[in-house]
């Protein structure tokens, strides 16, 4: 295998990893603050992508500049998913706090189905793949078998900035402090005057904004979105969060990139048909989990979120 080919695999894998990491961070955030698994998170990603596309279609008649269109699509997707995330938190997750965790899990699973089917039925021609505009241009640099596209670089940069921003938010701001406090110990946080419900809802909104970005990123990268894309993304994001150590942000990021790496290896380096790549990747995840049940960066580091 030559260097160009290897470089191509690395770039492909990093793009996948970035999307998985953004989704996984959401799972970890929700688990961190509330000990719940928000199983409709994958479909929130789909929702974000379709909201972005809808905003694009609506404003593309008025605006021409791709940069402004991109900003509009991103803001539209982020805002609508923030509201949706907070609504799911407020209406479905918080009221079920004292119920068994299984109920929340089932409920969010069903919300995911409703979201998915809603998009399929109500988005025009929603059961078919939709074309997502290439707002970042199609400029590419080709060196032998290696093609570096400008949009890939921009997307990777955008993802890195988002993750860095997340880190700063959690580590440096008052809101981040409140989130960490709630994650550590709800009772103590409440008695120290932290508005518990508000912090939880904000966390849901933040996690969903990340999902919305992942969705738009998916659209920009593949130029195609479909109603079912969140299903596997959700499963992968959740697995990534778990191998990283549920509740740990950095673990989620590590898990996302690890999973993408496993998929690429599964498709390229194994003497199996590439249809088995997910079987391989999930198989390794299962092995990792039996080896480290609390994840790679689990409770050992103890500080959640």
């Amino acid at each position: 295998m030559n260097i160009g080919l290897l470089g191509q695999y690395v770039i492909n894998g990093m793009m996948l990893g970035m999307m998985y990491a953004l989704v996984a961070v959401g799972f970890s955030l929700f688990f961190g603050v509330l000990d719940v698994i928000q199983f409709s998170h994958g479909d929130v990603v789909t929702g974000g992508a379709f909201a972005g596309l809808a905003v694009y279609l609506a404003v593309s008649r008025m605006i021409e500049s791709p940069l402004l269109l991109l900003a509009a699509a991103l803001i539209g997707a982020a805002a609508s998913m923030a509201v949706l995330g907070a609504l799911i938190g407020r209406g479905l997750v918080l009221p079920l706090r004292s119920a068994p965790a299984l109920n929340t899990l089932l409920l969010t699973l069903m919300v995911g189905t409703v979201l998915r089917e809603g998009i399929r039925l109500f988005f025009p021609n929603g059961s078919q793949p939709q074309r997502f505009p290439a707002l970042l241009g199609a400029r590419a640099l080709g060196i032998g078998s290696f093609t570096l596209r400008l949009d890939n670089v921009l997307l990777l940069g955008m993802g890195t900035l988002l993750i860095a921003g997340m880190h700063l938010l959690i580590a440096r701001t008052r809101l981040g402090l409140a989130i960490r406090a709630v994650a550590q110990d709800e009772e103590t946080a409440r008695t120290s005057g932290i508005p518990f419900n508000r912090v939880v809802l904000l966390t849901f909104a933040i996690g969903s904004v990340l999902a919305a970005f992942a969705g738009v990123m998916h659209g920009l990268y593949y130029n195609e979105i479909n109603f079912g894309m969140g299903l596997l993304l959700g499963a992968i994001g959740f697995s990534a969060a778990v191998i990283g150590g549920l509740g740990n942000l950095y673990g989620a990021i590590l898990g996302g990139f690890l999973f993408a790496g496993l998929q690429t290896v599964g498709a390229v380096a194994l003497p199996l048909p590439s249809a088995y790549r997910d079987v391989f990747a999930f198989g390794v995840v299962i092995l990792l989990m039996t080896w480290r049940p609390t994840g790679l960066i689990g409770e050992r580091a103890s500080e959640r979120v």
Partner: protein, 389 residues
């Protein structure tokens, strides 16, 4: 019609039920032929188009005063479901007054009812289902098919591509029966003609990311990428080919021949190739005749893609009964001899599996956001060029 002959006909019909014993010379015997297709559910438009077309064949024949028999079409709904299909197939085959059947559009149903028709000895002609196993999965003399299969489709596709100068392919197929079947027949054909397949990739039918497979394909530098599968992942693969800068010709199967493929890709769809059994009605040898007669009857709904095949199947069965009489065994023996028989869909020749070997396959190319039959396209007359030409 006199009272006498009318009552004679009733006697004749009644006699058919218990076994004919007297044949009044003034009225013809009625011969029943079954039509089975999906008349309700998602595929009902095609099913109803097929039924109307078979009905048209019967009506046109009955209008001929020189026929020995009068024909009646017994219409049954298989709902495109295997279990319902087997029920109605049993109903038709167990009814001794029915001598033959024009059967099934859905492959899953057609392959499920093969055993039923064989056990109960009803000669059938499939009018729409394309899975090869329906005729090639057994050696039952009862089963025939007028339309082509994915085998014919790939024969046509491969020789066409060879004519265009392509010799080296990479193959991506989904791992359903549809995708695997296409991969199998296409690869065999390429080998037969001395071409090369640089790599074969089986992918899941809902896979999103193909960059790993496509990166490998890029390093193999094929002239064309053959894709056996359906529209959704076809769109993704074509899209990601572009992302990775793969400049190979995209060649699909009947599974991507939809408007959604073009909608999903926009201008990137331009020049994509696909092949399908059958042909647009106006391209068929008897297409004009069929379309005119069909319009005269004012049926609700169009004949759809497979209507002409249902017509041809019903017409072939009627011609056979006229020749050998309403006897299932004789009909089966006669159908085995069908060779170069003219029909509105072209010549019909059944091989030893009852498969029409000269089935019509049409080549399509995307031109300006539409699937255009190859011969009518600007690619055929050289004004536009396929990739790598």
């Amino acid at each position: 019609m006199s009272m006498q002959s009318r009552s004679a006909r009733w006697i004749a019909i009644a006699a058919l039920g218990v076994g004919a014993f007297a044949r009044p010379s003034s009225a013809k015997d009625t011969v029943k032929i079954a039509f089975i297709g999906p008349l309700t559910g998602g595929n009902s438009a095609v099913g109803i188009g097929g039924r109307n077309s078979a009905d048209l064949a019967v009506k046109l024949r009955n209008a001929d005063p020189h026929l020995r028999y009068r024909y009646e079409l017994i219409v049954l709904d298989d709902e495109c479901k295997p279990d319902t299909g087997v029920q109605v197939a049993t109903k038709a085959a167990a009814d001794k007054s029915i001598v033959a059947g024009v059967t099934h559009y859905c492959s899953v149903v057609a392959v499920a009812t093969v055993d039923t028709f064989h056990k109960l000895g009803l000669p059938t002609v499939v009018w729409g289902a394309v899975l090869p196993d329906i005729t090639y999965g057994h050696k039952f003399p009862e089963i025939h098919r007028v339309n082509g299969t994915m085998i014919n489709q790939n024969d046509t596709a491969t020789s066409f591509m060879f004519d265009q100068g392509y010799r080296k392919w990479a193959v991506i197929h989904d791992t359903t029966d549809y995708g695997k079947g296409h991969n199998k027949y296409f690869s065999e054909d390429v080998k037969k003609l001395g071409g090369q397949i640089s790599g074969t990739f089986g992918v899941t039918a809902d896979q999103q990311d193909f960059t790993a497979e496509l990166t490998q394909i890029k390093s193999q530098r094929p002239q064309a990428l053959y894709f056996g599968g359906l529209t959704p992942i076809g769109v993704r693969i074509r899209q990601q080919m572009d992302k990775l800068g793969i400049d190979a010709q995209f060649q699909g199967t009947s599974g991507i021949l939809s408007d959604d493929f073009i909608k999903g890709l926009g201008t990137l769809a331009e020049g994509s190739l696909a092949f399908r059994e059958g042909a647009p009605i106006e391209k068929l040898p008897g297409g004009k005749f069929f379309a005119e007669k069909y319009a005269e009857q004012k049926y609700g709904g169009a004949p759809e893609a497979y209507g002409p095949f249902a017509f041809a199947a019903a017409d072939l069965l009627i011609a056979t009964v006229e020749k050998v009489g309403p006897d299932r065994k004789k009909i089966i023996a006669e159908l085995a001899k069908v060779k170069d028989k003219d029909s509105i869909v072209g010549k019909i020749t059944f091989d030893d599996h009852g498969q029409n070997t000269v089935a019509v396959i049409t080549k399509y190319v995307v031109q300006d956001g539409k699937w255009v039959p190859w011969e009518d396209s600007e690619y055929a007359n050289g004004r536009r060029k396929l990739k790598g030409k």
